[in-house]
Structures are given as C-alpha cells and as structure tokens.
Symmetry: none
Subunit: 403 residues, 2 copies
C-alpha cells in the first residue's frame, strides 16, 4: 500500500508533466452474458491507440468487493489510503459545495426528516423533498443564531444540507443524531470524548432552535445531523510529491477533494471534456500535474443508461487529440470506481486503467482499452492508492530507494 512518508522522502522536482484523466464511474459490465461493457462498446480509436502503445492494468479503489463513494475513490487515486484517511461526510459535502471548513471548524451533513406530533420520525428523508421546496426551509435554518459560535447552513440537494459550526475549542467527536429508523425521535448529539462535551451541547442547542424554526413546515419539520468532521489536514501534493497540481473539474465534490490535497482548483468556461482539455492547455506551463475529472460517465451509469455512458466515453475519446498535442510525459486514463449501467450504482469491480509514458513504459500485449484487455495488462491489478507512485516512477520523479 502506498506510503506517503516514503513518497515524501523519494520524490524529486522535475520538468516532466503528468495528466490524470478520470472518467467517473468508468468501469462497467455487459448487459447480456455475451456482451461488451460500456467502455468496450465505445468507438474509441484514440484510447485504443494509446492502449496498444502503452500499458494497462486494473485498479482496486478501496478493497476487493467494496464499492467506494466518490470521496474515498478519489482520495485513493490521489495516493491517500482511503481507509486510513477517513474523511467525514460533513467536510466532504462542505468542500463539495464550496463552503470552507477552517482549522477550528466542525462540519456536519444534515438531512431533513418528518416527525409526528409525538416527535417520532415518520420519514427519515422528508419525502425526498425537492431541492426547490427545501431551499426556503434551509433559509430558515440559516437564520438561526447562537451566541457560542458562528453557524453556516447551506443547501446541498433535495433533503440534504450542510452545517458548519465555527468557533474555538470545537471537536468533531460527536455521534450522529439519525437513529437510522422510524418510529423513534432523532437522537440528541452525544459527545464521544470529554473534549467534545461542549460541542455536543452547542449542537443540541442549535438543533432545538432549528427545529423550532421549521416546526410548522411539511414534510420537512425536523432534521438529523451526521458525519461530524473537521478539516483532515491531509498532506499536500506540493510537500508529498513536489508537484504543482491543478484540478480541472465541473462538479463541486471533486473540486472539494482536490482542494483537500492541495491542488489548485481551476475556474474555466464550459463543461465538456473539450472545454476541460482546452483549459489544461491554457495552464500547461504553470503546473506539473493535471487532474481532469469527467462526471457524466458516472451519472449515465447511475441512470442505467448504457448507451448514454458509451456516448460520454466517445466524447472524451474524440476530444483526446487536443490533450495529446500537449505531449504529456505520463498520461493516465482511468475511472475512480465502476458504475455499471447494469447495476445503476457504484460497484466494486476493479477499474480499467491505461498508462502511457513513451519514455518509460513497457508495452504489453493489449491492443485496446477495455476491462478485459486490462486484465492482461502489464501493470496487473493494484490498489488505486499505488497509482501515484507508479505515475511518479514513470515520470522519473522518484529517487532510488537505498544504495
């Protein structure tokens, strides 16, 4: 498993450039026993040429059999063991919607729920209330003030929101208030440690005031909080890898994770792969490492839209020549996890990965980019968290270990 202290010791500065192109949820499954996967079905002449020239493999995001969320899956790709660096949902959601979480802050993910007259939960997600209907209710929460600390509340999507508590001496060691079942009231926030007693008291005070503010709303007349968490203070790319890293992504969540590891989050116009590659061209001289994130592969997979996912892959392939014109020293094309349209969900299947580094790669026998071709690839199967060392090795950015 990747060892950040070993990386920090071995990485050297250099002039080589690394591109990590992630098609979210790239890995797929055939819809029929004899069929092809989404990637295998796509018209992808550029990816196939790179596959024939380069070397393939399969990456395991977290552990065999385990389907990862986007946060841990990206942490792994970035070289951070997602079991060791277990980042709270509160912080991930906050970073994802652009709400800063400072060194002193504690963030939590909030869910609206419905309670009956006795205060017992009848629906843990408030009827999956629509975003537009939830916004004014979030507004009411945002107006709740406490003397003890600043509280920021922001909507996420549907019944979900984020709360950030800002003040001195706060602790994230607070249990969630969602009882995970109906027929009982939300739990009070409970401190896990003595140091978190004050935080739990503040949270409970805020919850009481917040419930008072929305008591007459329907169906969102109560709330639960979970994923209390603080900035994990991850080691940053510049220190660990000696890389100036840029994140070119459209969705907030991915910008959030990138920011947590010290990438510069880019602002650019447009939202297609071609727009993203054009932006990378514009900043090519300013960075060493370029993370590019393409979201709709995952969205189409979650929708069960096999053909739609194929089309997204084809859009990326068609745009690739602009990226190749930049002559990256190391180009990695992969996904953060699999999202087979067949399963309409993230899955645990190892993720196809293409590494192209003409000065240093070992060409394998694979002639195309696809799940089954990757099975025969020269990189074999490896933990996603080992990808960065591999990329750095192929970029000649690691010193020899020992004499």
């Amino acid at each position: 498993m990747a060892d950040l202290s070993l990386m920090e010791r071995l990485t050297i500065s250099g002039t080589t450039k690394i591109v990590l192109l992630v098609m979210d949820g790239l890995g797929g499954l055939p819809m029929t026993p004899d069929g092809l996967t989404e990637l295998e079905s796509a018209y992808r002449p550029n990816m196939n040429r790179l596959a024939a020239e380069g070397t393939l493999g399969l990456s395991v995001p977290v552990a065999l059999g385990v389907s990862p969320g986007s946060g841990p899956a990206h942490l792994a790709l970035f070289g951070y063991d997602p079991i060791h660096f277990d980042i709270g949902r509160g912080v991930l959601e906050a970073f994802g919607i652009g709400v800063p979480v400072g060194a002193q802050d504690v963030a939590a993910r909030g869910n609206f729920c419905t309670v009956d007259a006795a205060g017992n939960i009848t629906d843990r997600r408030a009827g999956r209330i629509k975003t537009e209907a939830a916004l004014p209710i979030v507004e009411k929460l945002a107006r709740v003030k406490l003397p003890e600390c600043e509280v920021e509340v922001k909507p996420v999507k549907e019944y979900r929101f984020v709360v950030v508590f800002r003040g001195e001496g706060l602790s994230p060691e607070v249990d969630e208030t969602d009882p995970q079942r109906t027929g009982v009231p939300p739990l009070p926030a409970q401190a896990r440690t003595a140091a978190a007693e004050r935080t739990a008291a503040i949270v409970n005070k805020w919850i009481a005031a917040a419930r008072e503010a929305i008591r007459d709303d329907r169906p969102a007349n109560a709330l639960t909080l979970r994923g209390f968490s603080a900035d994990p203070n991850l080691p940053k790319y510049r220190e660990v890898y000696k890389l100036r890293a840029a994140c070119t992504a459209v969705y907030p969540m991915y910008k959030g994770v990138s920011q947590l590891v010290g990438m510069d989050v880019q602002h650019f116009s447009g939202d297609t792969p071609a727009d993203e590659f054009a932006h990378v061209k514009a900043i090519w001289n300013d960075y060493d490492f370029f993370f590019i994130h393409v979201k709709p592969t995952d969205s189409r997979g979650e929708d069960g839209d096999f053909a739609g996912k194929v089309k997204v892959i084809e859009t990326v392939d068609a745009a690739l020549p602009a990226l190749l014109d930049l002559k990256p020293d190391v180009l990695i094309i992969t996904g953060d996890h699999s999202t087979p349209a067949k399963l309409k969900a993230h899955s645990w299947h190892p993720v196809p990965l293409l590494l192209w580094a003409p000065a240093t790669h070992m060409r394998d026998a694979a002639q195309e980019f696809g799940e089954r071709a990757c099975l025969t690839g020269g990189l074999g199967r490896f933990s996603a968290a080992d990808l960065m060392p591999l990329a750095l090795g192929h970029a000649l950015r690691l010193e020899r270990y020992g004499a």
Copy 2:
C-alpha cells in the same frame, strides 16, 4: 508482505536444495516501441526450456513505482522487507569488504574528492582515481589515530573506502558530509539527535586530521563520508529458515548483504558465471541454499549497453547446464531489480522471475523467459520479499499453518 516470524514458526529442516540465481538488474525495456527487451533478445535456450517446464512471475522489489538500490533489492529477495529493514550504506560496504561492524560500531562509506585552494569541491570523486593510486592514500587515513575511539579505514574500489568507528556510546544518527555538488566545501558531520552529538564531534575531529594527512595528495586531497550506520542485527537464515546458506558472488556489496543475513560467503577462483557454478558444485553437499550473484547485467544496463547486457545473459544461459546437472529441487532465476539499458539506471519495473521445481511447480502457459512472458506467468506479480516463502514452499520446507 513476508512475515519472518511466521517463517521461523513454519520452516522445517530438510534435504531439498534451493538455488537462487540473481542476474543483477536483469529487467529491461525495449529500445524502440516495437522492440524486445534485453532478456527477450538474448539467445537463451536453457532458460526458455526451464520457463516452458516451470512457472513464471514478476517481482516488485520495494513498492510499485520505486527504483531500489542493490542493498534493499537483495534484502527483499532474501525475505526481509526493505522498508522495515533500512540498512545503511556504511555497514553494507564494510560487510562487503569483510570488515566487521560490531554491536557498538558505526560504519560510513567514504569518497575521496578534490578540493581547490579555497576548500571547495571541484570533483566529488577525485577523478575516479584508480584503486592502485588510492591505496597509499587510504594507508595515510588508516594511520590517523584518535584518543576517543578506534578507527579502521579500508579501501573499497577506486575513490571509495570504508571507515568504521569503534567505541562506546557511538550513534549512527549522523548526516552525510557530501554536499552532492561541486563549488562548495564538504559539509561538517551533523548529529540528527542529541545522542549523536558526541559521535558527530568525533567524526569531525577525525575528518580534520584525515584531511591534514592527505592535503598534498592529488587528485584525492579531501574526502566526504555518507551512510553512517550500525549493524542492523538481522535475523539469520539458519534461525529463520533452517537453511545452511552459501553466497557465491564476486562483488563485495553482495557478499556484504549475504553475510548480514547469515550466509557463508564463499571464496573461489575466477569470476564468470561458469566459475561460480563450478564452485557451487564443489560445495553442493555442504549447504541447502545457494545464492549466486551475477553482476555485469547491471553494469551493462547502467552503461546503456543493450547488446552487452544481452551477451551477459547469454553467458549465464550457456553455463546453466552445469548448474542443472546438480539437480536442484528449486531453481529460481531472477534479478534484484530492473536496469534497462534504455534508462541507464535502476528502474521500478517489476522483475522477471522463473521458478523451476519439478516436484512441486505448476506449469503455466509461458514458453519462454522474458518480461512479457512473465506477465502471463503462474506466479503472477508479487513482492520480492515473498519469494523466500514461495521457494521454501516449493522445497517442501514449510509446515502446514494450523491444523
């Protein structure tokens, strides 16, 4: 990763014999995109026959993406996790030339360098002074005495020597004095910990006296020290593996690592693979495990001499029948790391490995010994530190784990 305590628990004595033949830096790369590697290019009928009969795999010396030095790479082959057992260059070099490093001693590797009138380094290797020219200068260093502790100085080769400081309360936590560039003076020895302050002071006192002794020599009129280290007290082959092990090697460094793990270092005449195999025949009845080291594959790789490296492999192949005549129960042919002539350096690429154990191996589909054939091999890809358990298993020298 290999677990020495598990091995110590499971290994049993036996009569089977294991040969580990290491061609240093064996792994390679094609010089052109469509080309073959050094190993794939070599005429190697014996290795190919063994590959067709036996089973292949790829070993990862330290970690994916990481290029190892020879010390850690051999430790891994011998079953010692090279991240856990991080052995200093000073000790390795001292053991390599047969200079003992006791429990209280600190060893350092020395380089002669050339300094100008201002004391700034003009050549970090003193013009790669020949061994014969260096010997009398090493003699002068050896005559430098300190009241604080005993100091032994021995020549290694060309501009390199070894210094061992012997006394009570010494610590290896001292930084190297090589500034790694010219135009500046050597650095003073600096202690990394408070406990090493006295050692650093002694080292600096010795350096001052040593430089005075050689100030009028040319080009070796100064020196740098690096790799301060103490005996790592590694578990020994006889205890961990119940093996009587012999090292047949030409270069000091490899004799050094072998001695650290308790192998008997052999003295024999000649320096070719055929000479080494002849010696193994002579001691065949005295040992259970035979480590044979072939150096020039690595040297030719470092020189960027593709054809030269091919030739070395062919020399080994031509000599192999003499080794096979001994009928080893387990024969492993591999490298300690890759040294592609294309890169003129050690690299991180996994190392081709051939395991031939007619009584216990599982024949795979591979028909030749080469990097790409090993990709399809029956052993898959594994950490080099797992090789010894595999070898012992195939030699029927491991008890069942549990009932």
